[in-house]
């Protein structure tokens, strides 16, 4: 009997705790947000009586919000791309069998996760601000006259997000590369491939599952990031997540905030699905 054909409730019992957790902390809140997004905006209360489409109408009517989604997506794309470009070589190096100081390097990779996200983002404001370390140093060295605009813009947000999310790119890629049988590289070499060709034709495509996972993780995390964009972007540059929280908490517009949140989630999900489709590995699903 193959395990795939096991009958009975055994397997379901095994995933029951996870399922329950998902239901309570993911599905229910989403349903709640979904319902809320169709409620009538309240007067003095978070929401009013009855249901309406007015919240969505307001979103699509105002290009300000649409642009904000686009900007948020851009920040997500760039953060992901930069994390990939920086992260892949690091992951590759960390999986080399003769790597020295592996423990130390691994610790460095994980270090952003060891400090709370607020502190990390605050740290970046110290570095990036107009009076921050970078600008002061450059000014003192006489390299610039006026401070470089590093904060309160998308650039600053991306720099900080890359730092914060880099481990989420490196770890899945490392995992992927470690799963590649070293004799595959040897086989490619014996068939006449140089080291570079063996890397390009064998190692790189086989690390795609890790790359895919890392990209999705970083992209999704970037879209939903709140603390970093709000600290670094300030009042000038707002990502969608920041606007959503503003709507929900500052101005108590629960229905509209919910609609905004859903619009962001849906676009994000659509992009992830398209990305997943584009990078689907035929040899894996076979």
């Amino acid at each position: 009997m193959s395990p795939g054909k096991t009958k009975g409730i055994g397997p379901y019992l095994l995933i029951a705790p996870a399922g329950l957790l998902l239901a309570v902390f993911l599905v229910l809140p989403y349903l709640n947000i979904g319902v809320m997004s169709f409620r009538v905006p309240g007067q003095g209360t978070p929401y009013g009586e009855g249901f309406t489409l007015v919240n969505y109408a307001r979103f699509f009517a105002d290009s300000f919000y649409i642009w904000q989604v686009v900007n948020t997506l851009w920040i997500g794309f760039l953060t992901t791309a930069i994390c990939l470009v920086i992260g892949f070589p690091v992951a590759w190096q960390l999986t080399r069998p003769n790597m020295r100081f592996r423990g130390l390097a691994y610790g460095l990779v994980l270090s952003p996760l060891l400090v709370g996200i607020v502190i990390r983002s605050y740290g970046w404001t110290i570095l990036l601000g107009n009076n921050g370390l970078i600008n002061r140093t450059l000014t003192n060295m006489g390299l610039i006259d006026s401070p470089l605009p590093l904060m309160y813009n998308a650039l600053g947000i991306i720099i900080a997000l890359v730092h914060v999310f880099l481990p989420f790119m490196i770890l899945p890629i490392m995992n992927g590369i470690q799963g590649i049988d070293p004799s595959l590289e040897a086989a490619a070499r014996s068939l006449g491939a140089s080291r570079t060709t063996a890397f390009r034709r064998i190692v790189l495509p086989l690390s795609m599952p890790g790359i895919q996972a890392g990209c999705i993780l970083v992209f999704v995390l970037s879209l939903s990031a709140y603390v970093t964009p709000s600290l670094i972007g300030g009042l000038k540059v707002k990502t969608m997540a920041v606007t959503v929280v503003d709507a929900l908490i500052d101005t108590f517009q629960w229905p509209f905030g919910s609609a905004l949140a859903l619009m962001l989630s849906v676009t994000g999900a659509v992009i992830v699905v398209i990305f997943g489709r584009m990078t689907r590995m035929k040899w894996k699903v076979a």
Partner: protein, 352 residues
Amino acid sequence: MTEVSIEKLTKSYGNARAVNAISMKIAEGEFISLLGPSGCGKTTTLKMIAGFEDVTEGAIRFDGQDVVNTPAEKRDIGMVFQNYALFPHMTVEQNLAFGLEMRKVPKPQMRERIAKVLDMVQLKGYEARYPRQLSGGQQQRVALGRALVIEPKILLLDEPLANLDAKLREEMRVFIRDLQRRVGITTVYVTHDQAEAMTMSDRVVVMFGGRIAQIGSPTDIYERPENHEVAEFVGQVNLVQAKVESVGEGTATVTSPLGDFTLPTKISVKPGNMVSLALRPEAIELSKATEGQPAATVLASYYSGALMDYRLKLDNGDELHAQTFPVNRFAEGDRVALHAPAERFWLVGVSK
């Protein structure tokens, strides 16, 4: 076709010598097996020939050319790995094409060569499958095809049958051997299975602890092992105590419970020495006990289909293992007479 010569080849890992100054010459088109227990340095030797492992000392020559400093991809070697090492993200056809692409073989010629090899390894119709859609034996044949399609100088195989079940293993043995004969490629085959080495090879290299214990034809290795270790490794062997009566020119005459023999000897012995007579179980024939024949008592008998195995006890208390065709069967407690031709015995040192 290529002749390989290996001289005083050594590989050290720190202070440990995985391969210790081994030398051998492999003739053009020869099928040679490296046989030895786990950890004796077979894979390391193969990796050095392939160029995956640096050589600590010594030389490897292909047709007289030293290749020690030639990178793996320039050595023109076809290698079959124990776990096949097929590229999982490529179809059978793409796996086979890889080596040809590296050699910049033009497309039409490439298709032709792939088709020819697929025919050879009997995998026509499997071009579009991914490795994980193939059985172990099929993957094995793809690996073989991928190594052969580049028409390499030398074929190296590292325990290529270890992961197959017994029946398939025997089929593949014959398959690989026949294919190698047809292609006529110089082949080095690593295995720790003595039967595999015996049936496939022109010559067998028996290795222990990084050194070569004996090089010879399967018959040499089996019937004229140079020492006890080799004898034990390539098959079962009985040891019977014997006493040296007289010594001649390269021969010794001994008395033993199995009779008196005059045998060639490579070890130096003196009259009066106690030595061991070695004898393979299948060299013994059994019949009903008669007067004047060396005899033994059957302790146990095991039927294995093609053969009978007997555990026997000599009158001096020594035990023997005999293997015969199941024509005359004997039961536990039977008295049997032992027959063994003198040429099947050899002397192995002073008995311990």
